[in-house]
Symmetry: C2
Subunit: 198 residues, 2 copies
DNA sequence: GGTTTCACATACCGTTGGTATGTCAAGTAA
DNA sequence: TTACTTGACATACCAACGGTATGTGAAACC
């Protein structure tokens, strides 16, 4: 049974968590290519044998880390959306939460920069789809069905918005310009408004 | 004088061009990380010594390739824009040309996927700025000054649009959906329209 | 309580990016 | 022409990397 909890299973789970936590810190700080497995296992206090007992490859480890980060972002976006009553406000709040999530370095480097390059764009896209991007598609679909959004294919629109927010999040993280977040949000909000049904 | 053209300089230039051409093909087809220097020099018919005589590192070679690709895209975008008389049409034509440039695999993989990961987002951004992104900022600035675009900070807007188009270009390249380009363009055009001064 | 399983540790390997050095023709000055 | 220098590579080599094959000892099972 998977419900069993012996000391063995606990140890295993903890080792795995440690590996994920330490590699995530290193990947976020230095980038996937710049951090070696030796550095990861040293930080985690285990050996390469342990790492390869839990993960198939360095790429597989990165995939697990990325999924973790993405899940966190998705939760934040969904929470911000659910806090609003009106569908339109839900979309706006989710988008804004996504932009603000860009302040997290893990989010930028792991998810946006290294993700597509390490996993390939196709796989990255698939993971993105079942992460935060799914909420975006859901929200847009709801709006179209409710007649609040001009009828149109949702997929291209979601891609445009997703890309816009990804890039904006990266830009916001590196720019020192004060009010950049508000300016960006204003421009994005205007774009969203333009999609409203008439 | 740099204008001198002996057999030496010619040979040097040709070797460099061959290196750039072959590595570009390989980088585009397999991605930066998956292609080794051995494969590159074999394709180019030279040795690693020649490569390191022309470039400081594998990263430096990639940087040169990326700059070349980016220049080509910038030329295409600028040409499409210049073909239009009205400032607003120039922006629209440039954006559309950019989207269509996404059909080129070199463009996708080298410029959009591997670029930020290999060079780091900051350097990639700087290169992007002096490439096609510059034309976008120029066009937007012109429109604002001409009173055709609602007065607003141009930088955030340019980032949003640039990101939207980058992502859309990648999506268009992988989707089999017919009419995807037109749907995407329609959504993008609508966004652009929303920015018009009233 | 003997056996099996499992979660690692140890030892090792092929390949990779990078470097140090060698080589020989093209350029230069007498 | 000749002696010398420069430059465009080729050759040989290295440390580090991701990955694998094998060893080990405690926990789980019968």
């Amino acid at each position: 049974m998977t419900g069993e909890r012996g000391p063995r299973a606990l140890q295993r789970a903890e080792t795995r968590r440690t590996l994920l936590r330490e590699s995530r810190k290193l990947f976020a700080a230095q980038g996937y290519a710049a951090v070696g497995l030796a550095e990861i296992v040293r930080a985690a206090g285990v050996t390469k044998g342990a790492l390869y007992h839990h993960f198939d490859s360095k790429t597989d480890l990165f995939r697990a880390v990325l999924a973790e980060v993405q899940e966190e972002v998705a939760v934040r976006v969904a929470a911000a959306g659910d806090a609003q009553a009106e569908p339109w406000d839900q979309l706006a709040a989710g988008c804004r939460a996504f932009l603000e999530a860009g302040a997290d370095p893990d989010f930028q480097r792991i998810l946006l920069v290294d993700g597509p390059a390490v996993l390939g764009w196709a796989e990255w896209r698939a993971l993105d789809e079942q992460g935060s991007a799914r909420h975006l598609v859901d929200a847009l679909t709801t709006l179209v069905e409710a007649g609040l959004l001009a009828p149109q294919p949702v997929q291209p629109l979601a891609r445009l918005l997703s890309g816009a927010m990804n890039e904006a999040a990266l830009w916001l993280a590196t720019t020192a310009e004060p009010g950049a977040l508000e300016d960006t949000w204003a421009a994005l909000a205007r774009m969203l408004e333009s999609l409203r049904a008439e």
